[in-house]
């Protein structure tokens, strides 16, 4: 899947936040995303590269991948299952 062309249902801006806030906010925000829709998360915490993919692949959700943006943050994509 081409991550750059994904149109997410919503975007969570967690830039500058550190563990555990990006994961905590991801979990909370994902609750409001309809099944089948995609949540995009913007993060800068290096720990998120482990935490978010691990969490995003649980509970029937699908972690679609992440891309490092030129602006110094990482974009993560989770499809709600």
């Amino acid at each position: 899947m081409d991550l750059q062309s994904i149109e997410p249902y919503s975007i969570l801006d967690a830039r500058g936040l550190t563990c555990p806030m990006p994961l905590l906010k991801t979990k909370k925000t994902l609750k409001d995303v309809p099944i089948g829709e995609i949540l995009e998360i913007w993060g800068t915490d290096p720990g998120s590269k482990n935490d978010i993919p691990h969490f995003g692949a649980k509970k029937g959700n699908a972690f679609l991948g992440f891309v490092d943006d030129d602006e110094g943050y990482t974009r993560y994509f989770i499809r709600k299952g």
């Binding site: 830039r15 555990p20 913007w42």
Partner: protein
Amino acid sequence: MASTSFWSSLKEEARRNYIAVFEQEWPTWLAGIFLAIVALLIFLWQGPWGVAAGYRNLGDWIVYGAGGGGDRPFSPWLHPIALTNTGLVVGALVSAMLSRQFKIHRAPPLEYAKSLIGGVFMGAGAVLAAGCNVGGFYTAAAMFDMGGLAMMAGLIAGAWIGLRYLLWEMEHLQQKGVEQRPSNDAWVKIQPYLGGTVLILVIAAFYGYSLLDKTDLGGLLFFGLLIGLIMHRSRFCFVRAFRCPFMTGDAEMVKVVAMSLMIYGMGTAVIKWAWIQEPSMGVTHNFWIGSLFGGVIFGIGMLLAGGCASSTLWRIGEGQTKMVLTLLAFALTNSALASFLKNHDLYDKMGQGLFIPDTLTWYVTVPSFLLFFVFWAFVAIWNEKSEKFVVF
């Protein structure tokens, strides 16, 4: 031709190993084993590994430097735990640079405030418990001091309270993300060379201490460097062992810390039982009032700050600016509260060390210790599936 082939083969192998060690993240279970081994080496080398006393030394110096009076504090260059802590920060810095990941991270204002308040809580909790998540829990438990287990109970309770606060904060306080400056390409390319230079300087410092007939202190600086390297490469965080069972149900860090403690504890049992080190060594924690309530306060603080005593240090090494506030608040609070309690004869009322084998004998203590941590891991694994303790 043979020589060219040998060197190209060596170069290729070195490149592949460099990628495996410094570009790929280490699994936390491996870090748990390494950490227990280094902690045991420190125990054999000098004494039980701790962190909070190094923070206090920093706090004492800030108070003394600001004209707060009192005796001149112990020199940080001759203070065993301050040196280990210095090694930890530098080890994480070296690791971050060798993996081209060092970057100044900025945080939203609320995060800086929480880092400061979290540091105050942790500094206070570490005085009451006579140690932090390392000295008061990890090492204390491995030394078979009952205070370590009492602090563990407190940390679990504190993590639950801290997480409830974070959930409240998410509902009631809005904060926007903060843009970060993208890393400059030249800066990224030069990092491994800078990291390698710092590593050579630390090794030189070890030999420098040896020349001054202080090899023991040079060794502690080097052990600290190894811990910083291990923790940064694996992003080893004790907080996750106490927080994740309530937050996502994830049991990974509980399993890792439990396994690490079993290795550390069994190594300690061999060392103490064989009298290689004094059996009562490291049994100095405030069981049970100080350990339990100190653990609760420390647990709240580590959730607010987003890091414990050890992870605050390695996160500073990778460039997390907000953790510098945690370090300073922890150090000053720890120094001030310790002085207050001692000046008012309150410190002794917090409890005293209880060496478990003195009560249960070694024969009962060793299997009980193992079973206890196996039980903790199994409860966490059961919770991962059932989510019984997950709070939202």
